[in-house]
């Protein structure tokens, strides 16, 4: 698994690429815990490149969500893969996480800092 980290509109956007499971959770935790030390606490977890998730992966998403919230940060999830969404629904995480179909929608929903909206970014991503 590879993990991309990008800063956009004051949010850190973390995009794991591949499988988030018992084998790759340590890398994911390492990346997200490092970001936790960042003064910009708000986070978007872009899971559109995720191909597989197990209960360990779900646990790592919850851990990240809880740590960012404990630091008074905000978290939004981007999921367009019906299979990943199905797994989250089975454990009722869809009732807790704020889930959006693309990064642009997530940025709009969580309130881009200063009210600035990068229209080009919104229209290009995941279209």
């Amino acid at each position: 698994m590879e993990i991309e980290v990008e800063e956009k509109e004051g949010y850190n956007i973390v995009t794991p690429n591949g499988e988030l499971d018992v084998y790759t959770v340590p890398l994911f935790r390492k990346v997200t815990l490092k970001l936790e030390g960042d003064r910009r606490h708000d986070l978007i977890l872009d899971l559109t490149k995720l191909t597989y998730i197990d209960s360990s992966g779900l646990g790592s998403l919850i851990e990240t969500y809880q740590k960012v919230h404990a630091a008074k940060g905000d978290v939004a999830f981007v999921i367009d893969n019906p299979r990943i969404l199905k797994i989250l629904k089975l454990v009722n995480l869809d009732q807790v996480f704020r889930i959006y179909p693309n990064v642009g929608r997530a940025l709009q929903a969580v309130g881009v800092s200063g009210g600035y909206v990068d229209e080009e970014f919104f229209s290009d991503r995941n279209s």
Binding site: V22, Y23, Y52, D54, S55, S56, L58, G59, I62, E63, Y65, Q66, R83, I87, L90, V91, N92, L93, Q95, V96
Partner: protein, 142 residues
């Protein structure tokens, strides 16, 4: 121990793997391949994930003395059965089946996933070990 698997006939496979995390990916691959080869391509990922979660429970909780976890895949009358077996110390079923207190609880969602992914699930656990029995029916047989 070394891992091995044996096709007892075209409709049944038995697999033994060392009781460690490294075995989970191998088990997932074996279950998925077996499911696809018997017409369960649409559900193969679900079945393989359920099997992996059951095996992960063994690694985390059962600690069998022979350091081995076993599973069997069987096709019968349009149903794929996966049985995950260990000869460990068993566990308190009531405690395991208890719902996590919150969706945000850090642990305890493996069994919930198994129940959601498979059509039928039953667990027998005692002093001599545990059997997790899981069934998935072919879509056209549902």
């Amino acid at each position: 121990m070394k891992s091995y698997w044996r096709h007892e006939d075209r409709t049944r496979i038995s697999v033994s793997l060392p009781c460690r995390k490294k075995s989970l990916g191998k088990a997932r691959g074996i279950v998925k391949k077996f499911a696809v080869s018997h017409g369960f391509a649409g559900d193969a990922e679900d079945i393989a994930l359920a099997a992996q979660e059951a095996l992960k429970n063994i690694i985390q909780h059962a600690c069998p003395a022979d350091n081995t976890m076993r599973f069997f895949c069987t096709i019968s009358d349009g149903t794929m059965v996966v049985e995950v077996v260990d000869y460990g110390m068993g566990f308190d079923l009531a405690a395991v089946e208890e719902e996590p207190s919150s969706p945000l609880a850090l642990h305890g969602r493996g069994l919930k996933l198994i129940n959601g992914l498979m059509d039928e699930v039953s667990i027998k656990s005692g002093q001599n070990g545990t059997v997790v029995h899981m069934e998935k029916r072919l879509k056209e047989h549902v």
